[in-house]
């Protein structure tokens, strides 16, 4: 098991990678900053699982990341404290200082 690079409480930004054929990382969280709230077990990343590489695919730690709804939607009309959680593998995340 690889040691997760990010810890619970860390601020992370979701990378805005090209997703030509398939992705599980929603476009509304790409480029957004959220907070790691949970670790998920290491697993074959969807980019390999989707091409039948369960045995040889790359494994990465997964994270649950919590976003403020007001950070995701510029015209969000709900409560300011509303949040949304999504999951992503480690290679989608970059650390945010501060």
């Amino acid at each position: 098991m690889a040691t997760p690079k990010f810890q619970v409480g860390d601020k992370v930004r979701i990378k805005d990678r090209t997703t030509l054929f398939h992705t599980r990382t929603q476009k509304y969280i790409r480029k957004r900053v959220g907070t790691v709230v949970e670790h998920r077990p290491e697993w074959v990343i969807p980019e390999d699982e989707a091409w039948d590489r369960m045995e040889t695919g790359r494994k990465e730690p997964f994270y649950v990341i919590r976003f403020k709804q007001t950070d995701l939607w510029p015209d969000y009309t709900g409560f300011a404290q509303d949040t949304l959680e999504s999951e992503a593998s480690e290679s989608w995340l970059e650390s945010v200082k501060g």
Partner: protein
């Protein structure tokens, strides 16, 4: 294919063509924003503007559950996994993705996997589809 069926298929096909046909008829170059739009992964629709949808419930039909069970069995036997299915659904392209029923996307993806892996051939599959269509049309 009978002449009448050919005509009705061609009419239906013409109605699926994009309205801005010339712009989407294999242009030599495209602007970056259209490239971005065209390469958006089909199932990644969360947050896209849309109009309110009517909520209606329906129970599963027999063919839908047969499809579900067939696809799950193919998974247990190692033919594919759920992530491959999702990717294959995206690979159908916008017209078929939105044009087929939900489980129509599943079974088309399953057929594609079986062909890709050499477990069935396209003519074998096509012959079976034609055989079943002929049987149902007779009823």
């Amino acid at each position: 294919m009978s002449k009448i069926r050919y005509e009705s298929v061609m009419t239906a096909d013409r109605n699926l063509n994009p309205t801005e046909h010339e712009e989407y008829d294999s242009p030599y170059t495209i602007p970056n924003d259209r490239y971005a739009a065209l390469t958006t992964v089909l199932h990644d629709v969360g947050g896209e503007p849309d109009f309110p949808q009517a909520l209606y419930t329906k129970s599963e039909e027999e063919w839908e559950m047969n499809t579900y069970v067939t696809c799950e069995c193919l998974g247990w036997r190692g033919a594919w996994n759920s992530e491959m299915r999702r990717r294959l659904e995206n690979d159908l392209g916008k017209t078929q993705y939105y044009g087929f029923p939900y489980y129509g996307r599943w079974i088309t993806g399953a057929a594609r996997v079986l062909v890709d892996k050499g477990l069935i051939t396209t003519d074998e599959l096509g012959d079976k589809i034609d055989e079943i269509r002929a049987r149902l049309e007779k009823k």
